[in-house]
Symmetry: C2
Subunit: 209 residues, 2 copies
DNA sequence: CTATTTATGTGAAAAATATCACAAAAGACT
DNA sequence: AGTCTTTTGTGATATTTTTCACATAAATAG
């Protein structure tokens, strides 16, 4: 089975292809995609090979066709709906972001315990947490985003699982455990910053060669 | 040299240790840290071994001491200052987040081309983009965050490099290339969501075993 | 129509990363 | 003081991931 980094790369190829398409490009070479995704050309071709995606020898790949094939792999052939729990700074930023819609991702509703965030008339409605269960079940939602404070994250995870959510992006700085039948990706900005700090310092020291 | 995932894990161990410390725990075992970071105990010990971090056979590790050692590795023994370019939804969320301060990370200023975002009296001041160069040089800032729209990202990267910034977290959905002497981490929410969509669908299909 | 060029597709090789498994150290118990 | 128990620390081993390198197919040119 494909691994996580492989799928990240597919997303990046896709991103590049969308831009090329917008510029009316017809063909693209593994070399080009490699540049866009910051990997080697061999990696690009190997990734495609894994999913049986093929181009034309000598002619490279047709942008339109390749995009379609990647879309199929990534489940972008249909709109994917997410709900957001925790409508604070991050939650709001996500709900306001217009870029998702262009990519077959839709954040359909927000949920919060704070009644002052409640607004069922908004373009993307914000409901009370108690309404989560019914909403998810009625609308067959499979995906959720956790953007509540750390101490509430585990509890929200359990609630989401109960309602039937199967894939979660977690912004709380707690490493949530993947239950049996659910995929979780923990994103921690602080960890990202610490990574940058470490590698910046290391390369500075290493440079004295 | 340590790799990226290894440093991510160190951050996670650190996060867990901070919580244990707050609860007045004195000792911790590799098994405990493994649980917190969702890895194996052998991995934890191997990671420590790589940095010459050692505990007491039989006695595990002393929380306080271990924390200090990890802090040293991660550069958390002194405050690390970041600037943020692009004070929109994401930029604002970051600048408002109080959690960074507790972890020796400080976002010291924001910069934006939009004059209406400008506010040099705010707790964290927001300056005009033109002021970036002097500010970074005068204050010896090494780290930056890019949270401008995708079309502006490359240009901001180049500007940051010129001013002397050496480590960057990029939120724009463009895979920026690492220049020679600079570390860049590209974070793309859409890619993260696509990852979740893919693996949720795959595990659903795989489950029919 | 044949030769040449060029980019793909993919096994084989190499490199990177994670796991195993167990000797060694140190506290606990008698 | 000696034995037992438990957990670390780390070479050896296994697995995963990436890169290499080249045969193969298609397009172009002569
Ligand atoms: N803002 C940042 O830049 C940033 C940086 C790093 C990490 N994070 C993490 O991301 C998460 C969200 O951050 P934020 O800045 O948006 O926080 P925030 O405090 O602005 O918003 C949190 C929201 O969650 C709601 N909430 C609290 N408990 C809830 C519950 N049980 N159920 C439903 N809603 C609940 C609150 O009412 C609030 O609206 C936090 O875990 C934070 O640690 C944020
Ligand atoms: N908000 C989200 O949830 C989300 C999700 C995915 C990706 N992103 C990406 O993160 C980045 C920031 O998103 P956002 O929602 O905060 O956008 P935003 O539009 O709210 O804010 C962008 C800010 O950048 C400023 N800006 C524009 N050009 C600039 C320049 N050349 N120099 C300095 N400032 C400049 C604008 O004035 C604005 O204040 C974007 O690249 C976006 O694609 C955001």
């Amino acid at each position: 089975m494909a691994n996580k980094s492989c799928i990240i790369r597919l997303s990046r190829y896709r991103n590049a292809l969308m831009r090329l398409k917008a510029l009316n490009f017809v063909k693209v070479f593994s070399e080009n995609l490699a540049d866009a995704a910051r990997v080697t050309a061999a990696q690009v071709r190997k990734d495609f090979s894994l999913f049986g995606i093929s181009g034309n020898r000598r002619g490279g790949y047709l942008v339109e066709e390749l995009l379609e094939q990647i879309n199929r792999v990534l489940g972008k052939d249909k709109l994917q709906k997410f709900i957001v729990v925790g409508v604070g700074n991050i939650g709001r930023a996500l709900l306001n972001y217009p870029g998702f819609k262009k990519n077959e991702i839709e954040l359909v509703a927000g949920f919060d315990i704070d009644a002052s965030k409640h607004n069922r008339e908004a373009e993307v409605p914000i409901f009370l947490l108690e309404e989560l269960n019914d909403f998810v079940k009625d609308n067959g939602i499979k995906f959720g985003i956790i953007s509540v404070p750390d101490f509430a994250a585990q509890q929200i995870l359990e609630l989401m699982i109960q309602t039937g959510i199967r894939g979660i992006l977690n912004f709380a700085p707690i490493c949530l455990k993947e239950p049996e039948d659910c995929v979780i990706r923990n994103l921690n900005f602080e960890t990202e910053l610490e990574n940058i700090i470490y590698f910046t310092n290391v390369t500075e020291k290493t440079e004295v060669r």
